[in-house]
Symmetry: C2
Subunit: 188 residues, 2 copies
DNA sequence: CCACTCATGTAAAAAGTTACATGATTCG
DNA sequence: CGAATCATGTAACTTTTTACATGAGTGG
């Protein structure tokens, strides 16, 4: 089964919006796809080279805006076609690994106290994430008014909020269950 | 930063419960950690060899229950120690990649109709997942009554349910937004 | 001038998936 | 006996992370 190589298309996606350098792409991925996707330089720079070799992007000519070493890339016609094709393609199954849940699963080995610590950290993490999503949402409303992408982008933020809230509610439930176990139970 | 090599510990975790073969481990991971973790044979068999070389597990002796070729492994004292240490160690940041959200993010390129298709598939996927979690929850209640791990295991299922429901609710919201866009909007 | 950020890139390692090869056992 | 399942394992490949090396420009 041919692999889908998502990184390439994420890069193309941001070049479709405007010319950007590898460094720019990294930043914009972090700021917008944020916590449901990320790309490291180790992926971006080689991918840009490959994309150029295949004619899906080309180097922006002339003096670059900003710093001297900066090299922006521009998407090409075939690049746009490849991108749109990928966007239309059904997503693969949603695989996710949640280390915290695995540790809660095995927590009978170490007792409810340790499990509660995991839950507490998980709560802090997702609390912070929710804050971040709220900030992103506010920025979107301010900076992107009128842009056709806005409703789509807000939906992705809404998903982060919905799931983040679900995690926090689960933390409440877990905390209650584990506190009762710790109070009442005899454990190793 | 030394990597944590989670697979090893998941394997140890299931050997702590009872002796199992690589094949067994694969099955039990799928059945219990299910959709928030998975291990493939390509990870399990090499990992078992390594664990044995390090003295964290050993081969079960004598004729194996079940088939002839079956080779079960048993966790050792040091293995148990290493496992408990890992279970106590704080989980790393919760990284997750949601391909569907990336495609929704870039969907302005292809219009609301395509975005709705992504949402519909996402809904079907998570609907099925919720069913699975309910089944697992029911099995837990039936088969694991009285086992000390039960409340912990139920918590992991509860988390799957909470998040799955959040995804479904988001699908409703997304569907509504996109339907409005498709009806009213002029798009490329 | 020094520290910091901007910027590009490579090399190596780690992690994970997939496909394949092999053979035993069970069930119809 | 043939098909399906049980069972183990390897090799190749893809993907991703991490660490490192390098150097230019900016601000104090």
């Amino acid at each position: 089964m041919a692999r889908s190589n998502h990184s390439r298309f994420v890069i193309l996606g941001f070049l479709a919006d405007q010319p950007r350098s590898g460094y720019d792409i990294r930043k914009v991925v972090e700021a917008s796809l944020g916590n449901f996707w990320n790309e490291s330089f180790g992926q971006i720079y080689p991918a840009l080279k490959d994309l150029e070799a295949e004619g899906l992007v080309r180097k922006a000519e002339g003096p670059q805006a900003g710093r001297a070493q900066r090299q922006a890339y521009v998407i090409t016609g075939p690049g746009r076609e490849a991108l749109e094709k990928w966007v239309r393609t059904p997503a693969g199954p949603h695989a996710y690994r949640v280390e915290t849940l695995v540790k809660v699963f095995f927590a009978p080995l170490v007792g409810p106290r340790e499990a509660r610590a995991h839950v507490a950290r998980f709560r802090a993490e997702h609390g912070a994430l929710l804050e971040k999503y709220r900030t992103i949402g506010a920025h979107l409303d301010q900076d992107c008014t009128g842009q056709p992408g806005l409703p789509y982008w807000k939906l992705t933020v809404a998903c982060g909020l919905a799931v983040g809230n679900a995690y926090l509610e689960w933390c409440d439930e877990a905390e209650a269950v584990l506190a009762r176990l710790e109070a009442g139970g005899t454990h190793a």
